[in-house]
Symmetry: C2
Subunit: 653 residues, 2 copies
């Protein structure tokens, strides 16, 4: 495949790496610091206590006992290494670096001479390597190793892990490919990771292998289908036939490739299906390949898939994958609130995909979704104290859903860690004619302009609480370029001033474009009106019929029982309810609180009655209500929570 | 334990057996005929094709191969025998009787010399009898055998199956009891069946064994807990340790007896918990024991449990057990509509329990619940063609929930069959001073009055479609007694005439009591106003906030997509909507249809939008709506269904 770097070069963006971005605000900075101070050390402890590192030691003869955990335990170590490496890139920390080095040494030692590395197969089923690709996640684990290696190399300049990754990639490349083993992994991940590895090493074989892998999906002679018919020959638990996830079977007991996006060739896909994390990693890889090759059929498929998920299958929080049955997608407009799965890892994957689409196209609609997921469905995944995590993120709770310290399948905590530790890279991009600001976060970014001139862009803002963003351009000398400022899709009115003078530039693809000759110290002020809005969902979403959600700026709000005298599902809004916004620095780490009035049904007459005629006797009383950002829920005493609030069923009396 | 038959003898009822009752209406008679003509032969076929009967043959050396199905497969045969016997009692059928005799012969031949009978253990794990009581349902199967035997004996007067039952009961009695094996079955059933067996045989040991078994629940040294700690020693699948249902573990990984009502001694229980069918069979047994012993502590517990379930944990259809996780109860007011489990077997159990409470107390509130379940949450379990069945009964469907021909765990179809075949016994009771009519069904009942005088009570009615019931008393000579006519709890106004003259007798415990000297041919006419009512659920049931259900008489209605141009979840009622009722003899076997107007949201502007500000642009259009009885849903083309309808969120425009 010919590499083609000419894709839409006037339109597209190139992300500024997180190493060049400083985050100094009161919203994200404490989360990133908490991630560094609590999550990373805590997760390193978990790697030890859950047996992840012991599995490597077993291979080395340094530990005994049964293989610990599920097949994909190795990936927990790799994801932690990736997160730790991102953190080291911006916040040197000798102790963390030592843990990283120790872990890398262990991994490197466990690698076989031919490059193979997967402790489950090395320790438990050495003769079953690459036989149960649908289930056993060998290539998935390899992908996480590659991404960790790239992050570690970029953070430290050292090749200790990168060499391990390349040896494994070479081994896989020797086994898989046209005329060799023609198959891919059940859980996508290696595809996007191979592109990362290609970008760092320049080894074109890795890109071609990624292209090969995405081409394996949806073939008439599906490898996964073959495996289902040959369970006795493939990897499983010792002494038992190969494992299979029932999700690979349709209701007719036949193979159903949708679970692993194996139902159609990727370039023909139009509908987001199956396991949501797998889907997001696949689409990310497709976008990576489009970035390298310009393949228009893949780009068209991504556009169809994006339309499907954003207009039919996404929670208001940006969460995706409503069902816990397949950890994934179901059908259009099926978005249950109490059983919403909306896995945190799927939110991470959604952000990764949106970020890639944004770079490919330069279109703000992708940044809109990226921001929606980031501030809501992703951030809800981690507690304010950085020590507890949601695996699934419900839109409604009766009070029995709480974050946990760890999971048997511990994919989400290190996924959160790697995203938070690299958050900087989602904020800015270089574009052909200048620089673009996607997310408003106080801090600064170092950009190298076309002529090689350095620009430091300083942001001062209290976003998402405040509606003003001040930018100061630190330049050595005047320079002509375009400054693109994203006007979020949620924003109905914005204002712009350059050096105190009002400006009204065109908004192109969701970005206000200020093209001029900039002087050192020039200032730009952007204001984004952020009133409280009620949001309705499409009437086909039956679970939200008659309900509204509250949103302000990028934040979706919810009601929590901690702020109310009754379970929040009983609260009803009248259509003319007014809301005020007040910043409370003491509450939930400091939040803008939405306050207003709601109605709750009176309970008299209901004492020993479960059903009664709905008539004149129904009456409601007014109560003050408070809404808090969805991401901050379940950080106080346990209680009910609701994003979607009943509206206007009130007989005032 | 001293037997005490003196419980509330002035108040209590004694059910008229179904053999003495004729059902000749257009509502139930076709269902009973369908049960006889289709369900019973079809289920006999299933006993053959699913391997139930082969398991008995295996024990006899007449068949080979692996044991078929789950542990409790034998009970499918027993429940079918019970249903078939009830049917033979009212509708002789030589072919059916031959099948019954063949099946009984097979069962009798498979019984071991010591009386033991359970084909799973006989064929697969003969050395593991009575070791895994929590899971393996041996005593549960025995109970179903006893009930089949009693039904068969009462239908035919022959003891072929009763002898098998008594030998097995004697064997169990020799093994279980104080100082012997002190344990009960994880799934209650044998307890109520032993009381049945006692009543037919007069063998007091059986009653005492029933009392012993209910006394095993909630002990500090729970046998089930012991089994969890000794899985290597108890029955399981061949070559594996004992099976355990994860529901026996709480969230803290410790034993949680609630799944099998083993959390407290039964006389102390107040909350309906765990597996709903188990709970219903337990409460039925407790009521049976109260009927025999008068135990006031058991009766008080039953009253508490009844209050809990009917005022906190019951669907409007009478369905119970909202969760598929434990096939049972969760917490107060948790009644989800789309995922409602509401197992058909639990509805059968609920009817059995209500019927027993009604006989014990003579209070109409139990008949109210019995009727609610019977006409709604039970009857929905079987298709109009008597050939397909619901295992779980949702209150709302997106169009993907349909009855099936059979189930791997086929408990529900024969449970429906045995209830329909014995429906007559739920209609009338003898009471101390006369006779009581609980359910209004055209037909007749033969009653023997106190003096031995025969009374034939003729009912003419089109209930539940029509609101009039005519009773004619066929007597040989005048007789003085009380005729108690139930005034249903749903009825707000009723009228009574005796021989064309208005009467207004007192309503005692839910029954209008006509005490007089009756002449042969006397006529009574009862009218029960049955307007269409909107019903609301307690505000604590968040899943129905802002919604109402439609009810007329004993029937709960629903909307089906077959009658509407849009998915029914989008339909909204205005508060002033009026309804009319029209009988349509062609529709769904003949139903009274509720017609009116509803509103549906317009879709313009929503084409490519999943979320948008909820504002002035929302508009609705009027459509005619039709509601059909809930029991009749899913008998036409597949589509969405809803019991609970949104109300009054309308901007008319």
């Amino acid at each position: 495949m010919t590499v083609n770097r000419q894709l839409d070069s006037k339109q597209r963006f190139w992300a500024i790496p997180h190493r060049a971005v400083q985050i100094e605000d009161r919203f994200w900075q404490p989360r990133i610091a908490g991630n560094r101070r609590h999550s990373l050390p805590y997760q390193y402890q978990q790697l030890q206590s859950s047996g992840v590192l012991d599995n490597f030691k077993r291979v080395l003869g340094q530990a005994d006992g049964a293989y610990a955990g599920p097949f994909w335990m190795d990936s927990d170590a790799y994801k932690w290494l990736e997160a730790a490496s991102y953190s080291l890139a911006t916040h040197p920390d000798p102790e963390l670096e030592q843990w990283v080095d120790d872990t890398i040494a262990l991994i490197a030692a466990a690698q076989e001479r031919d490059g193979y590395l997967d402790t489950y197969f090395q320790w438990v089923e050495p003769d079953k390597k690459f036989t149960n690709l649908a289930m056993c996640h060998e290539l998935y684990c390899a992908g996480h190793l590659f991404q960790a290696a790239v992050a570690h190399f970029e953070a430290t300049g050292r090749r200790t892990l990168l060499n391990v990754a390349c040896r494994l990639a070479d081994h896989i490349d020797a086994i898989f490919g046209p005329g060799k083993l023609e198959a891919a992994d059940g859980h996508e991940e290696i595809e996007t990771a191979l592109v990362d590895l290609y970008r760092v090493t320049g080894t074109e074989r890795y890109l071609n292998l990624a292209i090969f892998f995405i081409g394996q999906r949806g073939k008439a002679d599906s490898r996964f289908r073959w495996e289902l018919g040959h369970l006795d020959e493939i990897a499983g638990k010792p002494g038992k036939p190969g494992l299979v996830n029932p999700q690979y079977y349709g209701s007719d007991e036949q193979y159903d490739g949708r679970y692993a996006q194996d139902h159609q060739p990727v370039a023909e896909q139009s509908e987001v299906v199956g396991h949501a994390v797998r889907a997001m990693y696949l689409y990310s890889a497709m976008a990576d390949i489009v970035a390298e090759t310009g393949d228009p059929r893949l780009l068209a498929a991504l556009e169809r898939l994006w339309q499907n998920v954003t207009t039919r299958r996404m929670y208001i929080t940006g969460g995706i994958g409503p069902s816990n049955r397949n950890e994934g997608f179901t059908r259009d407009y099926d978005l249950p609130n109490d059983t919403s799965y909306a896995e945190t890892c799927a939110a991470v994957g959604m952000i990764m995909w949106q970020h890639r689409m944004l770079q490919l196209t330069g279109e703000g609609r992708f940044a809109d979704i990226m921001e929606r997921v980031l501030y809501n469905g992703f951030l809800s995944g981690v507690a304010l104290d950085s020590r507890k995590f949601f695996y699934d993120n419900p839109m409604q709770s009766a009070g029995d859903r709480h974050r946990q310290g760890w999971f048997e399948c511990a994919c989400c905590p290190p996924n959160i860690a790697r995203l938070l530790a690299s958050l900087g890279k989602y904020l800015y991009s270089r574009c052909a004619d200048g620089v673009a600001v996607h997310l408003y976060v106080q801090g600064s970014a170092r950009v190298s302009l076309d002529q090689g001139d350095p620009l430091i862009l300083h942001q001062t803002t209290d976003y998402p609480w405040g509606d003003r963003i001040q930018l100061r351009l630190e330049l050595d000398r005047p320079a002509e370029f375009a400054l693109r400022l994203r006007i979020p899709g949620w924003c109905r009115r914005h204002g712009l001033r350059v050096n105190e003078e009002a400006a009204d530039p065109a908004v192109e693809n969701g970005y206000a474009v200020l093209r001029r000759r900039w002087e050192p110290g020039d200032r730009v002020e952007l204001s984004l009106e952020m009133p409280v809005e009620r949001v309705a969902a499409h009437p086909a979403v039956w679970q939200t019929m008659g309900r509204v959600a509250l949103q302000r700026g990028p934040l979706v709000y919810c009601l929590e029982e901690a702020d109310h005298p009754v379970p929040v599902a009983r609260i009803v809004l009248s259509k003319d309810a007014r809301f005020t916004v007040r910043f409370d620095p003491e509450l939930l780490g400091g939040i803008a609180l939405i306050e207003g009035e709601g109605w709750v049904p009176e309970l008299q007459g209901w004492e020993n009655t479960l059903y009664r005629p709905a008539g004149a006797e129904e009456s409601y009383r007014k109560i003050p209500i408070k809404a808090v950002p969805y991401y901050a829920w379940d950080n106080r005493e346990p209680g009910s929570m609701a994003v979607w609030i009943s509206q206007d069923l009130i007989k005032q009396g």
